[in-house]
């Protein structure tokens, strides 16, 4: 029973990471109806930047903030210089560009930082907090950071005028122009925010899985599964989905499929949700007019 509880709780810790990346995916999907396949690699690259800063002597939380700023700029640049200039009715050119981004991020990271696995520091103490045995301090810290970020984002979108404008631009760009919202800027901001959230997830997961260019590819799959389960248009759904997937992965990995096949869980979830209920738990069914 204790090990089961441990699996569940550890699943919540990784679930927080999946929830963050899933949220970033949902944010971009809401604004552009695109699935950003490159979300994971962008987060990985940002995490490398954090590592480089820390290695150069920058204190952890300063490096954390600088990395967030870097990721924001990266997301903004990708949207402004690349995504914005692709005009197509079919998704294929966008998918191709996303794959291109994945490959560039991965190879540039490998080139600059080499492919050897690196340790990434955790800002949290080594001993488990409160003397309990279920969660390491880092896992607890990661969950907390995730929750803080999610709450801040929620408050931003709910209570600020800029957040409202971004929501409006994502839902209805035509009407947004008519009230004076600069839709292109809102899109760029959205990409920047999504990239920042991804970077935070990367920095929280790197101490656990160690930093290497392929660190995020599995996590991306889990995040997609989470976003699909929650409903790819529902930010709240992404969060719920993330924690759900984290727990499922750990529990199924421990008791059903074994650790090497854990990724299979993500594959089955993705295909299962897409076939059975593509709108997810909280999403709305899309009706296309002919």
């Amino acid at each position: 029973m204790e090990t089961f509880l441990h699996q569940v709780v550890a699943g919540l810790a990784s679930g927080g990471i999946y929830a963050s990346v899933a949220l970033a995916l949902v944010m971009i999907h809401q604004a552009t109806h695109l699935l950003n396949f490159a979300q994971g690699e962008m987060a990985m690259f940002s995490t490398y930047i954090a590592w480089a800063l820390i290695n150069a002597g920058v204190p952890y939380w300063a490096a954390f903030c600088l990395t967030i700023a870097f990721a924001f700029a990266l997301g903004l640049a990708v949207q402004h210089f690349i995504m914005r200039n692709i005009r197509s009715t079919s998704v294929l050119p966008f998918v191709i560009v996303f794959i291109g981004l994945i490959v560039i991020c991965n190879s540039v990271a490998g080139w600059i930082f080499t492919y050897t696995i690196k340790e990434f520091p955790s800002p949290f103490p080594k001993e488990p907090l409160f003397g309990q045995r279920f969660l390491s301090s880092h896992e607890l810290g990661a969950i907390s950071v995730t929750l803080v970020v999610l709450i801040m984002l929620w408050a931003f979108f709910r209570f600020t005028s800029l957040g409202l404008a971004m929501r409006a631009a994502a839902q209805n760009p035509g009407s947004s122009r008519l009230v004076g919202i600069r839709v292109a800027w809102m899109l760029a901001l959205g990409w920047g925010l999504a990239a920042s959230v991804g970077a935070i997830a990367g920095m929280m997961v790197a101490p656990i899985v160690y930093l290497d260019p392929n660190m995020m590819s599995g996590i991306l799959l889990y995040a997609f599964a989470a976003a699909l389960i929650g409903g790819v248009d529902s930010p709240g759904g992404a969060v719920v989905g993330g924690f759900l997937v984290g727990v499922l992965e750990n529990v199924l990995g421990a008791y059903v499929v074994g650790n090497e096949l854990k990724l299979l869980v993500a594959l089955v979830l993705i295909i299962g949700v897409l076939l059975v209920k593509p709108s997810g738990l909280f999403g709305s069914v899309q009706v296309t007019r002919v």
Partner: protein, 238 residues
């Protein structure tokens, strides 16, 4: 006579290869209600869209003396032109109040914006009742009122209305139009009204222009146009 608030000269516009407007010219005096009439496809909606740069305008458009025909929609809004589009353009997933707040997005006077909420709810008490409701769940008439209110939250100098009566019961339309008349008189908001419902539009407006296949074919005061035989036969049904 004072220069018109809105002066349109030889406006051409279209969608891709299809030209819809073939040289429209008209003017709108400050403080007046002017209506553009015409049948389906005549080019009335395209005219409003061209004014807001939602389609690319070719020709001269002057607002308050300044040329606006090469500006972006977002900048035209900041000059004080509010457009209530065909189909209302409601933000259906946001609440009534959020829709209204977006109308005031470009305004810098925060305190006055809060006061305007009260003013708008005064004109449209039904919106006050539904202020936290999701806008997509409002009835057709309420959504139209919301669309007009959102435009008014800008405190515009010029209000563009595209077929506000569409799909609404006559009673609701009458209510809406009387509120529009009040707003025009009390707050000096100039109104450019595009309508298929010629009878109601001519009752509300001061000036009228008749558009057929992208050209102005008749213009004058609303009373004169109402009495015109051709108009009576084709558009007023008597």
């Amino acid at each position: 006579m004072a220069a018109p608030l809105l002066d349109v000269v030889n406006l051409h516009a279209g969608y891709g290869l299809t030209r819809v407007l073939h040289g429209i010219s008209f003017g709108l005096a400050e403080g007046s209600i002017t209506t553009l009439l015409g049948a389906n496809g005549a080019g009335k909606t395209t005219t409003l869209r061209a004014l807001c740069a939602m389609v690319k305008p070719h020709g001269e458009i002057r607002f308050g003396g300044e040329r606006i025909d090469s500006r972006a929609t977002e900048d035209i809004v900041r000059l004080g032109i509010a457009h209530v589009p065909e189909g209302r353009g409601t933000f259906v997933h946001l609440s009534t109040e959020e829709n209204l707040r977006l109308g005031a997005y470009v305004r810098k006077d925060k305190a006055a914006v809060e006061q305007d909420f009260d003013r708008i709810y005064g004109y449209f008490p039904r919106l006050a009742e539904r202020r936290h409701q999701q806008a997509g769940t409002l009835s057709g008439g309420e959504q139209q009122m919301l669309a007009v209110s959102r435009a008014l939250m800008l405190r515009p100098r010029l209000l563009l209305l595209d077929e506000p009566s569409f799909g609404l019961a006559p009673l609701i339309v009458r209510e809406l139009f009387s509120i529009l008349r009040t707003i025009n008189e009390r707050e000096r908001v100039s109104i450019l009204l595009v309508e298929q419902n010629a009878a109601m539009a001519l009752d509300l407006a001061d000036q009228a222009y008749l558009i057929e296949t992208g050209r102005v074919v008749l213009s004058g005061s609303a009373d004169d146009v109402k009495r015109n035989d051709a108009v009576r036969a084709s558009y007023l049904g008597y």
